[in-house]
């Protein structure tokens, strides 16, 4: 009887111990709805095979809802999320506020020195890496080579704005439904203002001077807006003020945009014969410049970060190391091909001959390397960020300015009126926020 009791007690103790060893940690990952993130969710079997003790719960939300929920959670120390998908805009702001856990202690196989310097720079605050890039992008020009040939022009790999304007004029054939240039016109800080801010950088314009005084009343912005409105009015598609990333991509896939400036990430779709019958005719070029030393290309990365309020930081770091490691890129390549590997994060990816052979690989890396978030404009600026200004007030302000500029493009106000309105609004907002004393 005693023996039986002892055996039972021993078995119970063993079970309890093994239970503790196998205890599952659940982490909640808040993410956005984009192709690369969806692909990662489909590859989770690999993660579970390597880390059976960690369970991942996904919360997929629209970008702006995610931003609001995550901000509320972090600000109140809620701890509902363990891993966040955040953009380059938030990392410097949240890192500075102490809302994010430093990722400086990720294992050696993470190989932090392999991260692209421009991307790493945008995610580092005071020497601390606060987010690990999952996918990075810049912007460039894509055009139809057959139409350029027909018009008797060549677009260089390093075009100027004058070249772009001339090419747009030469390739426009409205009767045939071909529009010389497609640019973002839809209002929003991540839509028309992302593009216009980069265009402004290349024209020598800037959002604010060193004393945070808005600069829309300067001649450089007048030149930007005049050329932008003129190009889209003369050579753009009808209703350009309603067109954002997706609308212009669709027009390009249908062959209706002779030329387009947008995210490098769309290169995969444009060169995919399943998605476009003009896939074999696509040419790429760097974003244009105006001879002032800055090109109109942006820099963005969706990155994974751990909020300071998470109570599963170690498991979260394990997940981030898996999702943003070089091995993950190889995993995607083995399952879905190199063209579907999340681009723009690691130097080694671009050194890989198979990836380098893709038609857009070199221009993507050149575009990313040409962007400098800490020194984005020709003139000195007090902020970080290429197509945005990394201050909390920017998203709201830029969306309002975007609406004003979109109205100018739609012909509801003149360029001068739009710029004056943008200047007055920005001065008011920046004064209220305490930047202008």
């Amino acid at each position: 009887m005693t023996m039986t009791l002892r055996a039972l007690l021993g078995a119970t103790a063993l079970l309890t111990l093994s239970g503790a060893a196998m205890a599952e940690t659940t982490i909640t990952v808040a993410t956005v709805n984009n192709g690369d993130m969806i692909r990662m969710q489909g590859l989770m079997d690999d993660f579970y095979a390597k880390h059976p003790d960690i369970k991942v719960e996904w919360v997929t939300l629209e970008e702006n809802v995610l931003r609001q929920n995550v901000t509320t959670d972090i600000a109140t120390g809620g701890g509902q999320y363990d891993v966040l998908t955040i953009g380059t805009y938030e990392v410097p702001i949240w890192g500075k506020l102490g809302w994010l856990e430093s990722l400086n202690d990720l294992p050696a196989d993470y190989d932090v020195d392999d991260l692209l310097p421009a991307i790493r720079g945008g995610l580092t605050v005071d020497g601390n890496l606060y987010a690990s890039p999952f996918y990075g992008e810049s912007s460039f020009v894509n055009y139809r080579k057959d139409l350029a040939e027909k018009a008797g022009i060549t677009i260089s790999e390093t075009p100027t704005w004058d070249e772009i304007k001339a090419a747009a004029a030469a390739m426009t054939d409205t009767e045939a439904g071909i529009y010389g240039i497609c640019l973002r016109g839809k209002a929003g800080w991540g839509e028309n203002m992302a593009f216009l801010t980069t265009m402004a950088n290349s024209y020598g314009a800037r959002w604010f001077d060193e004393n945070w005084m808005p600069q829309f009343d300067q001649p450089e912005w007048k030149a930007v807006m005049t050329d932008y409105v003129e190009m889209l009015t003369k050579y753009g598609p009808p209703g350009a003020s309603n067109n954002g990333y997706n609308e212009n991509l669709t027009l390009s896939l249908q062959g209706k945009c002779a030329m387009r400036m947008d995210a490098t990430v769309s290169a995969g779709a444009l060169t995919d014969p399943k998605q476009s019958e003009f896939a074999g005719q696509v040419g790429f070029a760097l974003a244009p410049d105006a001879g002032l030393g800055k090109r109109a290309n942006w820099l963005w990365a969706w990155s994974l970060a751990i909020p300071a309020s998470s109570d599963a930081k170690e498991a979260s770091k394990t997940f981030i190391n898996w999702a943003t490691n070089k091995d993950y890129l190889a995993l995607v390549a083995s399952k879905e091909g190199w063209a579907n590997v999340p681009p723009g994060t690691r130097t080694s990816l671009y050194a890989n001959p198979e990836y380098a052979a893709l038609p857009f690989a070199k221009l993507t890396i050149d575009s990313i390397n040409a962007a400098d978030p800490t020194n984005p404009a020709v003139k000195p600026v007090p902020y970080v960020g290429v197509q945005f200004v990394a201050i909390p007030e920017f998203a709201g302000l830029a969306t309002s300015v975007g609406e004003i500029f979109s109205a100018a493009l739609a012909g509801q106000k003149t360029v001068d009126e739009a710029l004056a309105e943008a200047q007055a609004l920005s001065v008011e907002e920046m004064t209220a926020a305490g930047y202008i004393k």
């Binding site: 984009n34 719960e57 959670d73 809620g78």
Partner: protein
Amino acid sequence: MARKVSTRRKLAFTAAAWAVALIIFFPVLWTILTSFKTEASAVASPPEFLGADWTLENYVEVWGRSDYPRFFWNSVVISVGSTLLGLLIAIPAAWSMAFVPGKRTKDLLMWMLSTKMMPAAAVLIPMYLLFQWTGLFDTRIGLVLALMLMNLPVIVWMLYTYFKEIPGEILEAARMDGANLRNEIIYVLTPMAIPGIASTMLLNIILAWNEAFWTITLTTVDAAPLSAFIASFSAPQGLFYAKLSAASTMAIAPILILGWFSQKQLVRGLTFGAVK
């Protein structure tokens, strides 16, 4: 002659009613149609209709990528639960306001309704903290309570309007026959107000089903209802329109069907007391 004009008028009114109905229904119809198109076809310019590429792929992918039954069940529990709990509180409240009004009853009703005028975002942080501290975050019971409180003014107001239509003499007669308060409410008032209670219930289920601010803000995984399901397929750049439309169609289908079958009650409820 007079009859002819009347027929013409009738026809004109019918045509106008159909036109208005179509305009109102068009966004829903377009969402449903888009859900059966390919992504390229969904955003084609000009919009495609007859020549579109039709597919069921979006539904297959949306179903495969998310746990629809869990979201659906959460929506059912939250919307029905909050409505039933709301009715339980609102019926006695509306009874007292309708049949035993005090000096401040009208003010009280107005004050209750005024809480609906406050923007939800104004109480976001206090609500969030309250839910965190009480452990109600991401729980169905938490959302049942939140939505019940949110819709309670509407429920009380609607029931108050219906109860006011019932002659007080009938209740008096019941009292004279020896009915106590409980029996008066359960056996006399409630059966007479059944149509009003039913339409209040339906309307509140619809309101709770469609609520998106709190249901997305106060949940992550376990209690997330269909509003969060739709949000997970949305992207600000307009990517994946077709899949988003498929997710939206799957989310609104149950409530559309419920609305369709109960439209008589709903219309009666919404127009009750309108023409007097």
